[in-house]
């Protein structure tokens, strides 16, 4: 069981390395030299673009009366933000994301947790094979996953739809893009997160599990009352990254765009920003909608960390 984690860094020995840290204080040349490349790149491709996006979002281009001649860049304050929020397409995009999250997150988290618990059970065989087989969709680029599934949704091409049709059922997934996109995302991410949960489950001390068996808890009870609460930290982390990822939904609907009639060019906030920038050349609006998307992501991750930290503290108090 421990074999699968053989490459994980061994823990411990921190006291020794801390002692070395203290003694190395003061020689600033080497650490600065080692960190500098990362910090330079980090500044160039993250901090500066964030700042630039905020700056851009405060300006707009104005053309003279007839729309000819040079455009002037004018400060508008929060004008672009008001325009984005006032645009029903942008708001509908957020509504799509909310619906997507409500459907996708419970299904994906539930399935990956279930798969991890099944794999962690003593009854499971061929654990290495199952782990690899479930993880494999992560090796498939999102764009290719979306292409393959779109083909599998298309009547005529798809053997699945064909089989269902001959069985008398008429499943029209291209007419229902939301479940269609959710299925693509579930396929791509369930195995990946399953591996994270499985690793966390393997880290639970065996004594704890033995104690619960001795206390008369069956496998189901142990899974729900012991294992799941003990890997809460991993579930929170996965949940947070899932929310951030969901907000950025772009690739999959982009592939379904024009194939599924309901997927319009502003189906998600990211598609709205992309269209604003590249079809309408409205960089101010695109920047404002991107900044708001990033703010929503920041706010959500803050809330998730706060909620779970609060809960952990309350549990600690209750236990004391």
């Amino acid at each position: 069981m421990t074999r699968s984690r053989s490459a994980a860094p061994p823990r411990g020995d921190n006291a020794a390395s801390r002692a070395a840290t203290v003694r190395r204080r003061g020689r600033s040349g080497a650490p600065a030299l080692l960190i500098a490349p990362f910090l330079l790149l980090f500044t160039a491709v993250m901090l500066v673009p964030i700042g630039y996006a905020v700056y851009l979002s405060l300006f707009t281009e104005q053309r003279s009366g007839l729309g000819f001649g040079d455009a002037r860049t004018v400060f508008t304050g929060f004008g672009n933000y008001a325009r984005a929020l006032g645009d029903s397409a942008y708001r509908t995009g957020f509504l799509t994301i909310v619906q997507y999250c409500v459907l996708y997150i419970p299904v994906m988290l539930g399935l990956s947790l279930l798969a991890a618990l099944l794999l962690d059970s003593v009854l499971a065989r061929a654990k290495r094979f199952f782990q690899l087989a479930l993880f494999l969709p992560h090796a498939v680029p999102g764009i290719i996953a979306a292409l393959v599934w779109t083909y599998l949704y298309t009547p005529g091409i798809s053997p699945v739809i064909g089989a269902l049709n001959s069985a008398g059922s008429h499943l029209d997934l291209l007419g229902h893009p939301l479940p269609a996109v959710v299925n693509m995302a579930v396929w791509e991410w369930t195995g990946y997160n399953m591996v994270i949960f499985y690793a966390a489950l393997q880290a639970i001390p065996r004594e704890v599990l033995e104690a619960s068996v001795v206390d008369g808890a069956g496998p189901l009870r142990t899974a729900l009352s012991i294992k799941v609460p003990l890997i809460r930290a991993s579930i929170t982390m996965v949940g947070m990254f899932t929310v951030i990822g969901s907000l950025q939904l772009f690739t999959e609907p982009m592939i379904m765009y024009r194939t599924a009639p309901a997927v319009v060019s502003s189906w998600t906030p990211n598609m709205f920003a992309y269209t604003a920038a590249f079809d309408r050349d409205d960089y101010g609006l695109a920047a404002a909608s991107s900044v708001m998307l990033a703010l929503v992501a920041a706010a959500l991750s803050f809330i998730v960390t706060r909620l779970t930290r609060g809960r952990t503290e309350r549990r600690a108090e209750a236990a004391a």
């Binding site: 994980a8 020995d13 070395a20 190395r24 993880f135 393959v148 599998l152 690739t251 695109a286």
Partner: protein, 304 residues
């Protein structure tokens, strides 16, 4: 950063030989071995069947593909499809493939090196504001990357880098999560005493890093490389925004551009399908060969 710490149950009561009294009568419900493994097989079918479809579809010609006909040995066109793929648009597919290998290979190599340098420095040295700086790096993990692509495009167009190799390559050198992983790996693989011994022997700090630290943390280096390689190979939004010259496209963007043409030109369908199959081969091989490393990376991530 929280460590996954199990509650203090180590000192729990000694295991009792029999289940608690009062429960002895009813045995707890337990799924059978067949049910557990059957469920796992169902999961596996779900993950592998679309790939299986891709495998058979890549061997079909246009009418068989669009007609949904089952593959028969008589209609096995994989060779023909590969030939068409190599010939289409003056052989641009393998040009895209080479681009992807360059973007992902060099980008992941550079990224892993930069991350390991920074992670090593964060772990081994003490300096003022270290944890604050590390916190800032971790915040970078939470920034939605697609929200950055647009301002990056506008900045790149200011400095004249739009539609060049560098526009896609430079952003792929940065991965804040890689720095976090590298630090965790350095904590586990590079004992302080060894570095101390090297210093006593008169090795300079950079020399110590290069010939001892970097060697010892190699498993971490490979892990960061693997994850970044995947991320770059799979990236779609950044190249879509940055590149307009199809000679610079990576495979993902190239397949997308072909897919948009299938509407008017159905003969592109087999090209897209066969091209997709070839495009997932390197990653599938890498993930099968380097199982130890992606599991280690996800394990380190889960204990965050």
């Amino acid at each position: 950063m929280k460590t996954l710490s199990p509650p203090e149950r180590a000192a729990a009561p000694q295991p009792r030989p029999t289940p608690a009294p009062g429960r002895a009568g009813r045995r707890p419900w337990s799924p059978s071995k067949a049910a557990v493994n059957g469920a796992l097989v169902l999961f596996t079918l779900y993950t592998l069947l679309p790939l299986g479809w891709l495998l058979t579809a890549a061997a079909k010609n246009t009418p068989d593909l669009l007609g949904g006909n089952t593959l028969t040995p008589a209609d096995f066109h994989l060779g023909q499809n590969l030939h068409d793929l190599a010939a289409a648009d003056a052989g641009i597919y393998f040009h895209w493939y080479l681009n992807s290998l360059l973007y992902a290979g060099l980008g992941a190599l550079g990224c892993a090196f930069v991350c390991v340098c920074a992670g090593y420095a964060f772990e081994v040295y003490g300096f003022r504001g270290k944890e604050k700086l590390f916190g800032l790096v971790l915040l970078g993990v939470l920034v939605p990357t697609t929200a950055l692509a647009l301002p990056m495009y506008l900045l790149a167009s200011k400095v004249g880098l739009v539609n060049t190799f560098w526009a896609v390559f430079v952003p792929s050198l940065v991965n804040p999560f890689g720095v976090y992983l590298a630090r965790v790996f350095c904590a586990g693989y590079v004992p302080g005493e060894v570095l101390e011994a090297a210093r006593v022997d008169g090795a300079g700090e950079l020399r110590t890093f290069w010939s001892i630290g970097l060697r010892m943390v190699m498993p971490g280096f490979v892990t960061v490389f693997l994850f970044q390689f995947t991320a770059i190979w799979n990236n779609f939004f950044l190249p879509l925004v940055m590149l307009s010259d199809s000679k610079l496209f990576p495979v993902s963007l190239g397949l997308y551009s072909w897919n948009t043409q299938t509407r008017s030109e159905p003969s592109y369908y087999p090209l897209v399908v066969t091209g997709s199959l070839l495009a997932i081969v390197p990653l599938v091989v890498a993930f099968i060969a380097l199982q130890r490393h992606w599991k280690a990376g996800l394990t380190a991530g889960s204990i965050k």
